[in-house]
C-alpha cells in the first residue's frame, strides 16, 4: 500500500505521470524476468488459452460477457477510443473528440479506414454501432449507459452524441468492450457477422472451442498486430490450461491458479505476469434488510476479518488489500490515503454494541461462481469474526444458477467486479440508488448527490475531492464488504515479448495482448 501512497501523491500533480507510475507499480515481476522491450518483431502464430468460452458465444456485442469473447472482439474490431496501457485515452477510430459543455460530444471519425470486407468506414457505421445498444428493443448489457443519451447523429465526418446532462467521462464509456465499430446497412449492424476494422480477420470460429484469425494486411495501424495468425482456445480446466502452456501447446494463458504459480515458475518454461488492477471481490449485504440496515452492523463486519490474510491465502499474494473501496489503484481518482481498516475484534464489538447487540448471527451464501476461492474466503471470514462475537454461517450454494437464485436475492453473498476504468461507471453501476446492479440495494443521499455533481464537474481538482469523499462514504457507510483487489495473473511462454507496461484496466493487457504483444 505504501507504494500507492507515494505514487498517489505524484498523480495529484500530473494525471498522466501518476497513471504511468501506477501502471509500473502494478507490474510485479521478479527482477531479471522482465524483457527489455526491443523493437517488436512481426510474425508467428500466437496461441492463447483462455479459461472462458461457451458454445453460445457469438458476434452480438450487446451479449458479450467474458474474457474469451472480449479478447476475440479486440482481435477483430476497433473501438472509437482505446484505453492505453497507462490508463489514458488513445484515439482509435475517433481521431479526436471534444465537448464544450460536457453534454454535446463530437467525435471526429478517422478517414481512409476499411472493414475486412473492403467496405469503407463511414460515420453512419459508428452511429449504427452505438444505436445497437439504445432503445426499447435493445438487449445490450450496456443499455443503461445510453439512458442519458438523447441523440446520436452523423455530421460530415463527425459523430455527434447529445446527452441530457453533462458527463466529463463520456469518452471513457466509448472505450467499453461492448461498443466496437461494426459495418452497417440501413442503419443497422449485422450481429451475425465477424466483419470488423481490427488487426485480424476471422478465418474460422467454433464457439466454445477455438477461433483462428489471420493478420489484416490492410490494417491502418502499422505498429500493432504483429502476429501472422492468432488462435484463441477455450480451455476451461485450470490444470489443462497450465499443461497446455508447459507442453508448448499455447503461448499464453489467463487465470493461473494461485496454487500452481510456484510450480510453474520453478519449471522455467514460462513467466508469470501479475498485474494489479481495479478488479475486486465483494461481499454485498442487503442494506434494506435487518440486521444489515444498521450501518454499525456493517462496520462491525468490516472490522471482523483479516484482509491481509485473505490476500495471502485466497490470492496467494497476487492482489492487494482493499479498504471496502470499489475504486482501485488503477483509477485516476483512487483515494489511497483513506484510513485503513485492520482486523480489530474490539472495534467490531464496539460497533455491535452501538447497534444494541451483544452477538450477531448472519448467513453468508457463497459459491465459487462468484470468484475462485469465494467459499474459502467466506470460511476465513467466519473463523475470524467469531472472536468479535459474530457467527457467520457459510452457506455453500451450487455454482449453477448462482446469479439467478443467490446474487441480489440472498441478503449476504459473494460477488465480483472486473473493475471499471472510470469512477462514475463503477459507482453508477453498482452503488447508485436504483442502479440495476446495485447489489447491496444501498441508498445514500449524499453519495447520490455527489455522483451527479461529479459527473458534470469539469474542474479536475474539484472532481478529485468529490470522488475522494464518495470513496470514503462507500467505505465507511456502504453496504458492501470489499476485502481485496485481485491481480490479473497470466502466464506467458518465454518466447512471448510484451511491452514494458501492461494495461491494468482489464485482463490480458486490456484484452489487447493479441494486438500489442509479439514473439521475441
Amino acid at each position: 500500500m505504501s507504494d500507492y501512497l507515494t505514487r498517489g501523491g505524484l498523480s495529484r500533480r500530473s494525471l498522466i505521470k501518476g497513471a504511468t507510475a501506477l501502471g509500473a507499480a502494478g507490474l510485479i515481476l521478479p527482477a531479471g524476468v522482465r524483457r527489455a522491450s526491443a523493437e517488436p518483431k512481426k510474425g508467428g502464430v500466437f496461441r492463447v488459452g483462455i479459461g472462458h468460452g461457451s458454445s453460445t458465444d457469438g458476434y452480438d456485442p450487446g451479449l458479450w460477457d467474458q474474457l474469451y469473447v472480449q479478447t476475440f472482439a479486440a482481435a477483430r474490431h476497433n473501438y472509437l477510443i482505446e484505453i492505453g496501457a497507462d490508463g489514458n485515452l488513445v484515439p482509435e477510430i475517433a481521431e479526436s473528440w471534444d465537448s464544450s459543455d460536457g453534454m454535446t460530444w463530437v467525435f471526429k471519425i478517422r478517414e481512409g479506414v476499411a472493414f475486412h470486407s473492403g467496405k469503407g468506414l463511414t460515420p453512419d457505421d459508428v452511429v449504427a454501432s452505438l444505436n445497437h445498444h439504445r432503445g426499447e428493443a435493445s438487449t445490450s448489457a450496456v443499455k443503461p449507459y445510453f439512458d442519458a443519451v438523447t441523440d446520436i447523429k452523423a455530421d460530415g465526418q463527425n459523430v455527434v452524441v447529445t446527452l441530457n446532462a453533462p458527463n466529463a467521462d463520456f469518452p471513457y464509456l466509448m472505450s467499453d468492450y461492448h461498443l466496437p465499430v461494426m459495418a452497417s446497412a440501413d442503419g443497422k449492424i449485422d450481429v451475425t457477422s465477424s466483419d470488423g476494422l481490427g488487426g485480424y480477420i476471422v478465418e474460422s470460429f467454433e464457439p466454445g472451442v477455438q477461433a483462428t484469425l489471420n493478420r489484416n494486411p490492410n490494417y491502418w495501424k502499422s505498429d500493432r498486430a504483429h502476429f501472422d495468425q492468432i488462435v484463441l482456445l477455450s480451455i476451461l480446466d485450470a490444470a489443462a490450461r497450465l499443461n497446455a502452456l508447459m507442453t508448448g501447446e499455447v503461448d499464453t494463458i489467463d487465470q493461473v491458479d494461485p496454487a500452481s504459480i510456484g510450480l510453474l515458475e520453478s519449471r522455467g518454461v514460462a513467466k508469470i505476469l501479475s498485474i494489479s488492477g481495479n478488479a475486486h471481490y465483494v461481499f454485498p449485504m442487503d442494506a434494506r434488510a435487518a440486521p444489515f440496515s444498521d450501518n454499525n452492523v456493517r462496520l462491525a463486519l468490516k472490522y471482523a476479518f483479516d484482509r491481509q490474510e485473505m490476500v495471502d491465502k485466497i490470492l496467494a499474494g497476487h492482489g492487494s488489500v482493499s479498504n471496502d473501496n470499489p475504486i482501485g489503484p488503477a483509477n485516476r481518482y483512487f483515494f489511497a490515503e483513506m484510513e485503513p481498516k485492520t482486523y480489530d475484534p474490539d472495534k467490531a464489538k464496539f460497533h455491535l454494541k452501538e447497534a444494541g447487540m451483544e452477538t450477531l448471527e448472519v448467513t453468508l451464501s457463497a459459491a465459487d461462481a462468484a470468484f475462485s476461492g469465494a467459499v474459502d474466503a467466506a470460511v476465513l471470514m467466519s473463523e475470524k469474526a467469531a472472536a468479535a462475537g459474530i457467527t457467520i454461517t457459510v452457506d455453500r450454494v451450487p455454482n449453477d444458477g448462482y446469479w439467478d437464485n443467490i446474487w441480489m436475492k440472498k441478503p449476504f453473498c459473494a460477488s465480483y467486479w472486473g473493475g471499471r476504468p472510470v469512477e462514475d461507471q463503477m459507482f453508477t453501476t453498482a452503488y447508485s440508488a436504483g442502479g440495476a446492479w446495485n447489489e447491496s440495494f444501498w441508498d445514500n443521499a449524499r453519495f447520490n448527490e455527489l455522483l451527479v455533481a461529479a459527473r458534470s464537474e469539469l474542474d479536475d481538482a474539484k472532481r478529485r475531492e468529490m470522488y475522494h469523499e464518495m470513496q470514503h462514504i462507500v467505505s465507511f457507510e456502504g453496504s458492501t464488504i470489499i476485502p481485496m483487489y485481485n491481480n490479473y495473473v497470466m502466464a506467458v511462454s518465454n518466447a512471448v515479448a510484451t511491452p514494458e507496461k501492461i494495461s491494468n484496466n482489464w485482463n490480458l493487457d486490456g484484452f489487447r495482448c493479441v494486438e500489442r504483444w509479439w514473439f521475441a
Binding site: 461457451s54 458454445s55 453460445t56 446469479w403
Partner: protein, 317 residues
C-alpha cells in the same frame, strides 16, 4: 432368420417409444432448472427490461407444451431446430461434435475391446496364475481411480515429456494420422477405465463354462487348453461378453465429459454441459436424444448379436 428380422423390428419400435418417453422426461427436467436462457445469456448484467426484451425475441414466453410440440415435430422431420442462444442450426452445432465423440469412442474401443478380450481369455486360461493376478490387479487399479486422475497421471508421464500432446486441437485440416496421434492420451485414458469391466466379464464367463461337462469331454479328447478355450468355451460365452462390450461402448459415447475437459477435447459431453449451463434447452434435448439413441441402438445390436451366437435365446419359453 425371419424371426431375427421380426425381433429387430419389434426392438426398433420399442426403442422409438423409449426415445419418446425420454424426450418428455428430458423436457420436463430442463423445465425444472432454475433460471432461463435469457438470464444466462445476459448473466450478471441482466436487468428486468433487457430480460423481457430478450425473452420475447427467443419465444420463451410460449407455454411449455407448445414449445415441446414445435420441437418434437421438427425433430421427427430431421430438423432439430435452431439453437436459441447462437441462432445456428443445431444439426451444424452437434454434427461436428458428434463426429469427434464417435471418433474418440471408436478409437478407445479399438484399443480396449481386443485388449480386454485377449487379457480375459488369457486370464481364464491361466487362472490363478501370476499373470491372472497381475492383470486383474492392474485393471482394477485403473478402474478404481477417477478418470481425471488417470488422465493427469498420463499427462504427467506422457505429455510433459513431449511424447504426446496434452490437448486435442481438431480443425478441418487435421489429417487422420494427426488425429490418432493427438487423441491418443484421451483414448488411452478411456481404455484404462473400461478395460477392467470387459476383461473380468470375459474371464468370468469363460471360467464358468470351463466347469461344464462338454469342456471336460474336450479335454479328455486331448485338446490343447488354448483350443479348448477358443473353439469350445468362447463361442458359448459370447452373449454376456457382447452385452458388456455394448454397455461400455455406450459409456464411451455418453460418459466421457471429464476426459473431454481434461484434454480440451471438443466432444458432445462438453457441448451438453455448456448447453445445460446456458439453458439452451433445444441443444440439451438434441444431445440427450442422441445419447439415448446410442444406448438403445447398441443394446439392440448386442441383443441381436447374442441371439445370433446363441439361437437358443430365440426359443425361450
Amino acid at each position: 432368420m425371419r424371426d431375427i428380422w421380426g425381433m429387430i423390428g419389434r426392438r426398433l419400435l420399442l426403442g422409438l417409444l423409449t426415445l419418446f418417453v425420454i424426450s418428455v422426461v428430458i423436457f420436463g427436467a430442463t423445465e425444472l432448472l432454475p433460471g432461463d436462457l435469457a438470464r444466462e445469456l445476459l448473466g450478471q448484467s441482466a436487468t428486468e427490461e433487457t430480460l423481457a426484451a430478450l425473452r420475447d425475441q427467443l419465444g420463451l414466453n410460449d407455454p411449455a407444451p407448445l414449445r415441446y410440440w414445435h420441437w418434437l415435430t421438427g425433430a421427427i422431420q430431421g430438423d432439430f431446430g435452431v439453437s436459441m442462444a447462437t441462432k445456428k442450426p443445431i444439426a451444424d452445432l452437434v454434427g461436428a461434435r458428434l463426429g469427434n465423440t464417435l471418433f474418440l469412442a471408436l478409437y478407445a474401443a479399438a484399443l480396449s475391446v481386443p485388449l480386454s478380450l485377449a487379457l480375459g481369455v488369457m486370464a481364464a486360461l491361466w487362472r490363478n496364475s501370476v499373470f491372472d493376478r497381475a492383470s486383474n490387479a492392474l485393471a482394477l487399479t485403473s478402474i478404481s481411480f477417477p478418470e481425471f486422475f488417470v488422465a493427469y497421471i498420463l499427462v504427467l508421464w506422457l505429455a510433459q515429456s513431449g511424447l504426446f500432446p496434452s490437448m486435442v486441437r481438431i480443425t478441418p485440416a487435421t489429417t487422420f494420422g494427426d488425429r490418432l496421434y493427438m487423441a491418443f492420451l484421451p483414448a488411452l485414458t478411456l481404455t484404462l477405465v473400461v478395460t477392467a469391466h470387459m476383461m473380468r466379464m470375459t474371464r468370468a464367463a469363460i471360467i464358468n463354462l470351463l466347469a461344464s461337462p462338454y469342456i471336460e469331454m474336450a479335454r479328455l479328447k486331448g485338446m490343447s487348453p488354448l483350443r479348448v478355450v477358443l473353439r469350445h468355451a468362447v463361442p458359448n460365452a459370447l452373449a454376456p461378453i457382447i452385452n458388456v462390450v455394448a454397455l461400455n461402448l455406450a459409456y464411451l459415447i455418453t460418459g466421457v465429459v471429464v476426459v473431454e475437459v481434461v484434454f480440451v477435447y471438443p466432444g458432445l459431453g462438453q457441448l451438453m454441459v455448456d448447453a445445460v449451463t446456458n439453458r439452451d434447452i433445444a441443444v440439451v434435448q438434441a444431445i440427450a436424444l442422441i445419447f439415448a439413441a446410442a444406448y438403445v441402438l447398441l443394446n439392440l445390436i448386442a441383443d441381436v448379436l447374442s441371439t445370433v451366437t446363441n439361437p437358443r435365446l430365440m426359443h425361450r419359453r
